[in-house]
């Protein structure tokens, strides 16, 4: 008798139900890990995909004008240099709108000083919304914007000086409503989980967002994002109640049919720093996860035209939580496969998600190498080893953050937990014989405001 038939005859109904559940779980996690894998490699899928990651060949003319929104709170240390950098954009038509809380005297002073230096480019807007939040400040600033295109940046961003020219070309060539540029964490060697965090950005902006943009459903990043101003104004700007206002805007506009282009030009990425403190990392991740949860619950994605699109949107928004549950269930599956009385074929099948995950670690190692070549950063062997052995602890941290986000959302706690910036991404730049230390690196000071979890409302400056 065929062993499957024999099994069916010999086993009790609960045993068979258990096996079916086991098989379905394995199938689900196989699909899940395969989806994650596809998101990772899409940007490198073919040589053409790699060549198409920029905004295209120069057209020789610039057609648009820009308003750049920058919201800052307690960022006196870094804001000045950032504003100078933005004011130095090579594009001729740039308006920079710095939105500063009216009670934040120090930052306001820095912004006003920058305005004095670049009176033709910078305006400072005092924000009186209470409680302060990034989306509320963005909306305050939006009212003062005059450019065709509104761009968003954070207070500690290192922005490439020719970025806006490229974005102008991108708008001309693609006819898109929204352009999402690359954001890249740079401090790959600063702590054991920094490389993983850096690679998350590398794959998120270099690959995954480009796929989402092509699919017409994209959670936007928190900065280096450009939207047509008329489109923003017509759709009432950002959602002030949402912790992930960037993601929410992307979803809302996608649902309305706005088209997005995502690009990742290594020369034009906005450089940021990864948190090196576990507490900060978890608070930042909790905020993103909670934001995703809010967007999921708000349900704008339900208006998407196709069932399959709705399903993939739901999957995308729920991904942090599914992954958190997944890591636990996957380990349980493997323990079951080894010790429980399960047919050998089914037990082998349960290892497929683990195999795909193993493959994704191989891809991460290749990605780290690619990153080090792309940005000419020396990555020692130790960092590669941390990628491998850091997999499980890193995902346990993500899982904890996801659980924490659910707990906070359940309690109705939607306050901002601010991320601290230390300027690790501003490493000394070797320029010929001289070593030029970035101004902001020199101006860096202790930033003690965030050493304890902050439950009082505070404005986040760093986001994707």
């Amino acid at each position: 008798m065929h062993p499957i038939l024999a099994l069916a005859e010999a086993s009790s109904t609960p045993h068979i139900i258990g096996l079916v559940v086991f098989g379905v779980m394995s199938l689900f996690f196989t699909a899940l890990s395969a989806t994650t894998l596809r998101w990772m490699i899409y940007g490198w899928a073919t040589p053409a995909k790699v060549q198409n990651r920029t905004t295209g060949e120069p057209t020789g003319h610039l057609d648009y004008s820009f308003s750049l929104l920058i919201c800052a709170r307690d960022e006196a240390d870094v804001l000045g240099t950032t504003l100078d950098g933005l004011a130095a954009q090579s594009h001729p038509r740039v308006q920079i709108v710095a939105v500063i809380g009216s009670d934040d005297i120090a930052t306001l002073a820095v912004a006003n000083a920058a305005q004095q230096r670049h009176p033709d480019r910078i305006i400072v807007v005092e924000d009186q919304t209470s409680p302060p939040s990034k989306p509320a400040s963005l909306n305050t600033g939006l009212a003062h914007c005059t450019g065709d295109i509104v761009g968003v940046f954070d207070a500690e961003d290192d922005v490439a000086p020719t970025l806006l020219e490229a974005v102008d070309q991108g708008y001309q060539l693609s006819g898109a409503d929204i352009l999402q540029g690359g954001v890249q964490l740079m401090n790959v060697n600063s702590c054991w989980f920094a490389a993983r965090n850096v690679l998350e950005y590398f794959f998120h902006f270099g690959s995954r967002l480009r796929l989402h943009a092509e699919q017409g459903f994209i959670p936007l990043g928190g900065n280096t994002v450009f939207v047509r101003r008329d489109l923003l104004v017509l759709n009432d700007g950002w959602d002030e109640a949402c912790l992930a206002e960037d993601c929410e805007l992307g979803i809302r506009l996608s649902v309305l049919g706005a088209s997005t282009m995502a690009f990742y030009d290594p020369d034009l990425v906005t450089r940021e720093e990864a948190p090196t403190d576990i507490g900060h990392f978890i608070r930042q991740r909790t905020r993103w996860d909670q934001g995703f949860l809010q967007v999921l619950r708000k349900g704008a994605w339900r208006a998407l035209p196709h069932g399959s699109k709705r399903a993939s949107a739901r999957l995308m928004l729920a991904m942090p939580f599914i992954q958190a549950a997944g890591i636990v269930v996957a380990i349980a599956q493997i323990i079951f496969a080894v010790w429980a009385d399960i047919p050998i074929a089914l037990a082998l099948f349960a290892f497929i998600p683990a195999a795909i995950t193993l493959l994704s670690i191989c891809i991460e190692l290749a990605g780290l190498r690619e990153f080090s070549k792309m940005f000419e950063i020396n990555v020692p062997l130790k960092t590669y080893i941390w990628i491998v052995i850091g997999f499980l602890p890193y995902h346990l941290m993500l899982g904890y953050a996801a659980g924490r986000a659910m707990w906070r959302e359940r309690r109705g706690d939607r306050t901002w937990e601010k991320t601290r910036h230390e300027g690790h991404h501003r490493q000394p730049v070797v320029d010929g014989d001289a070593v030029v230390i970035d101004l902001r690196e020199a101006a860096r000071s202790d930033y003690a405001a965030d050493s304890e979890p902050i439950d009082e409302p505070a404005l986040a400056a760093s986001d994707r």
Binding site: M1, H2, P3, I4, A6, I41, W44, A45, T46, P47, K49, V50, Q51, D63, Y64, S65, D148, G175, R228, R229, D230, L231, L234, N235, V255, L256, G257, A258, S259, A300, A303, P305, A337, V338, I344, A347, L348, F351, A355, L358, L359, C362, I363, L365, A366, G367, R369, E370
Partner: protein
Amino acid sequence: MTVTQFQREAVGPDRVITRPDGAMTTTTSDPIWRSARRRLGEFAREHRRDLIILTAVLIVIGGAHAWGMYSAPARFDDEGTYVAQAWATNNGELAHYTYWYDHPPAGWIQLGAVTAITNPFDAAPNAVGTGRFAMLLVKLVTAALLFVLARRLSLSRGLSAAAVLLFGLSPLALAFSRMVFLDNIALAWLLGACVLAMSPKRSIATAAASGACFAMCVLSKETFLLSSIGWAWLLLRESSHHNRRFCAAVSIGTAAIGIASYPLFALLRGEMFPGAGHVSLWDAVRYQLGGRDGSGFLLDPHSGAYGLLRLWLGMDPVLPVLGLLAALVLVWKLPRWRPVMVVMLIPALAMFRGGYLPYPSMVQLMPFLALACVGLLSMIAGVRPHRPEILLAVGLASLLVASALWTPSFVSLLRDNQDRAMSGAQQWLLTNAKPEDTVVVDDALWLDLVDAGWPQTNVVWFYKIDLDSGVKLADGWQSVDYLAFPPLPTDVQLPKLREILSHSTIAATFGEGPNEVTVYKVDHTGRTPAVEISDSTLLEAPAQ
């Protein structure tokens, strides 16, 4: 300044943006089957001439393969093993005896799946013949892949077809590709891996598929692991600098993880390491790597390996010698050909190491040898592109030499019934023995007897009496009634079998020489042994 004007429309709770240029309208996509049919049509139009030539070539070599494939070469013990194991997998077991990790099971699982489909259509006279019909399909796939590989190496259509014809008509390749060997299945996967590694798309998806093919190749026959360096090199060399790191990580990762499923499988069955009362992968690997006597140095005239080499070269001296020389020239002269040739050259070199040399080792090399011959021809033509008569002359001369050397073995493979002895013994048993009798046989007969109504307990593969602790004869030699096999292998001690033989008389003999099959009847009256087992009755038959 050209900002498109948006209009507001109230639709339900949300607003919809529309643009005057109508960019909002969703494009309706074709159903999958229609777009697939369209793409297939485009593909056929684009590659029409390739498809016509390939079809013609496949008909020729398919015909040569099929003509007489059930009667030549004679059925071989291992063929019976794989067919019986394939039959066992279709019944939910891994082997017809205790599975002892002799090879990874993927090869005969595939064989079982293919024969389950082809069974109703083939007219095989015996169980091994069923497997040989499947081998015909494997051969056609292999030949088609060889054609694509040659085309991807920038050979012309004519030369690519020549490579396939060389491979398809060489008597050596013909004989071995007809036989039910795991190597033939693995070879198809190996060529698939190489073809995908050379895909002009250079995508991560094709790299992953190439890795999966290579994993299937090694899982079908573990000795193909020797081609891994050549394959990986080929993949790296043919990939684009834009995504090389990712292609390498995905393909090599996929291959390694796929192959690792075999030890994982052993681990899950609790048979990774040696222990009381069960077989283990560890023991099997130790046995395969050094547990049995080596076949000696390939070029030592007194070694078993030399005998095998003579057998191979006797069937076809052209392709192995010329192909190997051509491969060395290509490695030296043409950088693009290096990795493909290394795919073959490492296993070829391994033959000289002096360890155990499996009977079908040559299978892995054959298509690459043919490719090398044609590649050399193309290189010579390339040196003097304005003198095509040189190419023609060299081609014609080699064709003449090849056909003169090939004709006898080739004709014999098409016309002779080399399986007469085995068929005779099979017929004798079916006529004279009853299913209640216990028969000890060569594995080539095992499944036929089971098909004829013998209970599995009454048909015993001769090796298993000594080598499988799970096979027990209740009354020792007296449990056995008949025995039938060709001359026994000399590289394994089989004391229990020899004891049974010492109580037997020869009942019938079919054929002569290495193909001879003898049927013995066990004498239950207890008289003195009638058969003297001397070394002269033991002929060398290479066994795997």
